[in-house]
């Protein structure tokens, strides 16, 4: 067999694929350090000849990027924290606690996954307007404070915990909350890490619902601010690329740091079919 030839071919293909995949991201970083207007020259430069931080400082000083960054951090952390608490509690209950209708309710929840979330958005907007929550952090966060996907993930994992452990604690007279906090939670740690990074990334990147419910720029998250800024500053490639870097960098770094957990969650979540 022509194994050496095949080996070179496969690795060259992989390198080309990786280069094509990463090229837009490299270009984004590179352009974000170019002086304003540099990309309009011909031929378009690929690397900055005079690297500058001017785009970043303009974004923070004039475009309110600091505020948007703070909003994104607040919203994504808030959603992650609350949905983690709610989903882990519910997932544990579906896996290990006994109550009438357990399987039927869980099946109904899974069935609800076929409904795209956008169907709910219009009534949700009217409802939140009526509750006075339009253009608030609570309004952005409300619909994602619990998720069927998260409950499913925790349930699958919690089912593998031995029942004897919980029964033994009950016989020793431990209350349900104590069992949950002191025995179950530490054992669920891997799935909690997975779910944390999943939820944080999803809420950081979320666009349509924040765009609908955030009507004033004081509360814009980064994606909403960026989408509207591009419409205003169509010509300002360099500044917009700096904005993209600020938006993408936190989630990319988080992913690189916790990659293993993310991939595990992705695989666990896709096995439901």
């Amino acid at each position: 067999m022509n194994a050496p030839f095949a080996k070179i071919g496969i690795n060259v293909l992989l390198t080309v694929a990786a280069a094509l995949t990463l090229m837009p991201l490299f270009w984004m970083v590179s352009v974000s350090f170019m002086p304003s207007g540099a990309t309009l020259s011909f031929p378009p430069p690929f690397l900055p000849s005079h690297p500058t931080l001017a785009n970043y400082s303009r974004l923070f000083v004039y475009a309110g990027m600091g505020r948007y960054l703070l909003n994104s951090v607040l919203v994504a952390s808030g959603i992650t924290f609350f949905s983690l608490v709610f989903n882990v509690m519910a997932g544990y209950a579906f896996a290990k606690l006994r109550f009438a209708g357990r399987e039927r309710i869980f099946q109904a929840l899974l069935g609800a996954l076929v409904i795209p979330s956008q169907v709910a958005m219009i009534p949700l907007f009217i409802m939140l307007k009526w509750m006075g929550l339009v253009n608030t952090y609570a309004g952005v966060m409300a619909p994602t404070l619990a998720s069927v996907f998260g409950i499913f993930l925790v349930r699958q994992y919690a089912r593998t915990l031995p029942d004897e452990l919980l029964e033994a604690a009950r016989i020793d007279g431990a209350g349900e909350l104590r069992i949950f906090a002191q025995i179950v939670l530490p054992l669920l740690k891997p799935i909690i890490v997975t779910l944390t990074i999943f939820t944080f990334l999803a809420s950081w990147n979320d666009f349509m619902w924040p765009l609908i419910v955030l009507t004033g720029q004081d509360h814009y998250t980064l994606p909403v601010a960026l989408a509207l800024l591009t419409r205003e500053h169509v010509q300002d490639t360099e500044m917009m690329m700096a904005g993209s870097v600020i938006t993408v960098l936190p989630v990319l770094l988080l992913f690189l740091a916790l990659q293993r957990y993310y991939i595990q969650g992705l695989l666990a979540g896709s096995m439901k079919g």
Partner: protein, 292 residues
């Protein structure tokens, strides 16, 4: 054994959130789609009128709705197979015993999946700029005619499809990769002993063994692609000549630009029914294929 109410205490927060912020709104969406809910009704609910199926009937007579439907289907029908080909190709390369630096390549190919859609769509907008974009520069220097990617109604949707393939193929790649790894090595060994070529092994072992994975990936990708919204919102703003207006884009502008919330709810429901029907049809087709 736990007491019966313990379970409900653990379930309550999540179930309340899902009921109040999902179940009730979904039901309300159907109710809303049967009314003429608009800006006046938003100000005062007394201005609301029940109009039965009028919203749905007027959608059927509205050319913009049909073209939004066509654009969405175009995106799904072209984007889904392309994404799956790219994913499967990347997974096969990664799975090859000859590949080096696998974890680096896996991370690199997966990176676009975790990036913020809006931010990378903004990159696309500039990369594919007809006059100053890098893509046209590369084409011209290779002696190919430049393309008016985002300004030509025939090219805008293909540009968005290209974007979606780039952004999403890594997700399916990971699922395919796991599927490939679960195929028993003995099958390939036996085939090699029988003298089967690499291509024959792929056709008669890899593809049939990947069938369940293929089904899963197909359905996930399709469901995601029917929900096309942010890509045209950022890259083309629905243009040029409304050639990239998708159903959700239309729903968004009808609802939150023109405040025709009743009409927009009907659009959301039609999209949901369409997704549901196509998914069921797709499942049937795959099952029938299994029996043959």
């Amino acid at each position: 054994m736990n007491k019966w109410y313990t379970a409900w205490l653990f379930l309550a927060p999540a179930l309340i959130v899902l009921c109040v912020f999902f179940l009730v709104p979904v039901l309300a969406a159907f109710g809303l789609s049967l009314t003429d809910f608009d800006l006046y009704a938003l100000a005062d609910f007394h201005n609301l009128r029940f109009i039965a199926l009028d919203n749905y009937l007027s959608l059927l007579r509205r050319p913009l709705f049909w073209s939004a439907l066509r654009h969405t289907l175009y995106f799904v029908v072209a984007g889904m197979p392309l994404t799956i080909f790219a994913s499967l190709g990347a997974a096969l390369l990664l799975n090859s015993k000859l590949a080096r630096c696998k974890s680096f390549f896996r991370t690199a190919l997966f990176a676009p999946v975790v990036t913020t859609l809006v931010a990378v769509a903004v990159i696309w907008r500039y990369l594919f700029n007809a006059r100053f974009g890098l893509v046209n520069y590369v084409l011209v220097s290779m002696g190919i005619h430049p393309v008016n990617w985002l300004g030509d109604p025939r090219w805008a949707m293909p540009t968005i499809i290209l974007f979606a393939v780039w952004k999403n193929f890594g997700y399916n790649m990971i699922i395919f990769f796991a599927g490939l790894q679960s195929i028993p090595e003995e099958l390939y060994e036996a085939a090699r002993i029988d003298g089967a070529s690499a291509l024959a092994q792929f056709r008669h072992i890899t593809l049939p063994m990947l069938r369940p994975t293929m089904l899963l990936v197909g359905i996930l990708t399709m469901a995601g692609y029917f929900q096309l919204f942010a890509e045209p919102y950022v890259i083309t703003e629905g243009g040029p000549l409304q050639s990239t207006v998708s159903v959700l884009y239309l729903m968004y502008s009808d609802a939150f630009k023109w405040w025709n919330l009743g009409v927009a709810s009907a659009e959301a429901f039609v999209l949901f029914l369409l997704m549901f029907a196509v998914t069921v049809g797709f499942l049937r087709l795959m099952r029938r294929g299994e029996r043959v």
